[in-house]
Symmetry: C2
Subunit: 333 residues, 2 copies
DNA sequence: TTGTACGCGTTATCAA
DNA sequence: TTGATAACGCGTACAA
């Protein structure tokens, strides 16, 4: 049998109320009884039952996190920021892998709701209205990370994808490149797919570089799709001196195809990625990439949520800063 | 105000007991009332409160996972297996980053205990007796993954590190290599450090290759340490045709140093890694490595735990199979 | 300063 | 087939 507050009370010859007061630092007890009680607690190794506590305080000190896939560097880094910050504030985090296309989103939202989590963080929500409605109807404080909603005013934390892609492209242009291919994300992704292509095209236009639509290939952010797109570019014998990939994984894919084809990086081809995950740091050669502050995004998501939970402050959306991390895959020409 | 079982009972003109019975499929009610109740539940969107439920059933359908760092491919992959399997069985998982040296281990064990988790999975436990004692004293079903305890009989799931390192070394020997350097893990790590070195040395001995202790360098499994070790080897002008690294990250580090020094892989140097994480798949050239079935280890950890929790079966330790994944970093000489 | 007693939302035990 | 009601472990008015 587990030790309960009653056992402590009995052994210390006080009431449970007194023990509770001491446990919660509510005052209204003598130093003497406090010591007596603490001694008992220590001796018998009492730990309070957070479940019972949650029932009455109506809070579980838990936040739920929806990620498509924890085993991706991208989400792992965000999760890292979330977990650290949550722990610092006495919160625990339960992770939920929503899977491809977010097909487990609805199921998890229900789970989290019935588990009475105090807040929910959703990363890269698949933009289905059904999902957005479900988030709202949980009535639990929620925040989106690296995604947003067009239909509803759900608070979010992300970088400006359009602007970031613009910066990356501009960077390449300033390095003297004019024939820049783009390996983009999903063509139907209104968050991380299309805007990045738009940013790329805008930069090209602003610097008077003619846009060649054939230089734009659509993948799905994965390494494999990066390989496929780069191969397509090569097979079609396109002429380009640089490629901007919409994710580090796709950039690594293009690095691989270049390697297989004896194309030397950055001498014969420059490439810049997007995200600045571990992958980028450890690639060969180290990848120049557009950094998203992933850890900080996780951090801020939690702190916004906690402010809302404890102080009732409303959550405001945040556009995080991005920057280029220069490593060894871009050459000035 | 949240909708409770009482609201449902009231609206359906039945008692809460009946609603509860229906919710739990306990039988003892007419099809008619069931329909009536289900209709109400559907209409007002009732969800049961798992917190209140847990208080009485004394189970939370939650398992806690201790990892040193989620943002490492190695742990992320294990976590992936854990989360998938847990979800399939109606369990949620709360992740806990124990940090460098596992310094948050004790704190998290207390958190998990007071949250009444049904089971605990500990990956790569820092081998301090203090930690092992703490695990036991929670009296919660627990299992170690990719680690073990010498002092206590805590069940574990891991590959045989000694044997695996032996296989990797033997593989290199069979490819004609005799001057094989090893970039090992921590010298004081009795689990993943020393045994892998022993396996390496044993293979060397068995195939009559003289051991050169100077060819063994100790890192800490990280990319950076891989770089440092490989640089050391080069600076000391050691003569070797292959290196066996005790982690993929360290292998990638040596790949990087080779690249910087114009050493072509695998023509001038062969390297094999350990783990078979994403890192290995996406490296350039793709890394030949000793695979640990990380996802499956997470899977089995959960299913063992659940068997223990629901059926009371005792958890047995499992040695998982390992195998060499041949990619492009080893050349027959 | 301390204790009594009720309530949180659910399940389990009786009795009807 | 159904319903009252007592737990579960804790927090908190209220009373003492």
């Amino acid at each position: 049998m587990k030790i309960t507050i009653k056992d402590v009370a009995k052994m210390a010859n006080v009431s449970v109320a007194t023990v509770s007061r001491i446990l919660n630092n509510l005052g209204g007890y003598s130093e003497e009884t406090k010591e007596k009680v603490m001694k008992v607690i220590d001796e018998i190794g009492y730990q309070r039952n957070e479940i019972a506590r949650g029932l009455i305080t109506k809070s579980t000190n838990t936040i739920g996190v929806l990620v498509p896939n924890v085993s991706t560097n991208f989400y792992a880094e965000i999760l890292n920021g979330i977990e650290d910050t949550a722990h610092k504030n006495g919160y625990s985090v339960v992770v939920c892998n929503t899977g491809i296309g977010g097909k487990r989103t609805l199921a998890y939202l229900e789970v989290l709701s019935s588990r009475q989590v105090d807040g929910i963080i959703i990363t890269s929500l698949t933009p289905k209205e059904e999902y957005e409605k479900a988030i709202i109807s949980t009535r639990i404080p929620s925040i989106l990370v690296s995604t947003m909603s067009f239909r509803y005013q759900l608070p979010f934390i992300k970088v400006d994808d359009r602007l970031a892609a613009y910066s990356a492209t501009k960077y390449l242009i300033e390095k003297g490149h004019r024939k820049i291919a783009m390996i983009a994300g999903n063509e139907d992704d209104p968050i991380a797919g299309i805007p990045r292509v738009e940013g790329y095209m805008q930069a090209l236009r602003d610097y008077n570089v003619t846009i060649d639509k054939e230089l734009i290939r659509y993948g799905d952010f994965s390494y494999e799709s990066g390989i496929k797109c780069m191969r397509g570019l090569l097979e079609d014998e396109k002429d380009f001196t640089a490629v901007f990939a919409a994710s580090d994984d796709m950039a690594i894919g293009t690095l691989y195809v270049a390697y297989k084809n004896g194309i030397s990086i950055p001498d014969e081809l420059s490439v810049v990625g997007y995200d600045n995950t571990m992958t980028a740091q450890m690639s060969i050669p180290p990848l120049t990439t557009l950094a998203q502050p992933l850890y900080e995004m996780g951090e801020r998501a939690v702190s916004s949520l906690l402010k809302k939970i404890s102080k009732g402050e409303s959550i405001e959306s945040i556009i995080m800063p991005h920057k280029i991390i220069e490593r060894d895959t871009v050459k000035k020409i």
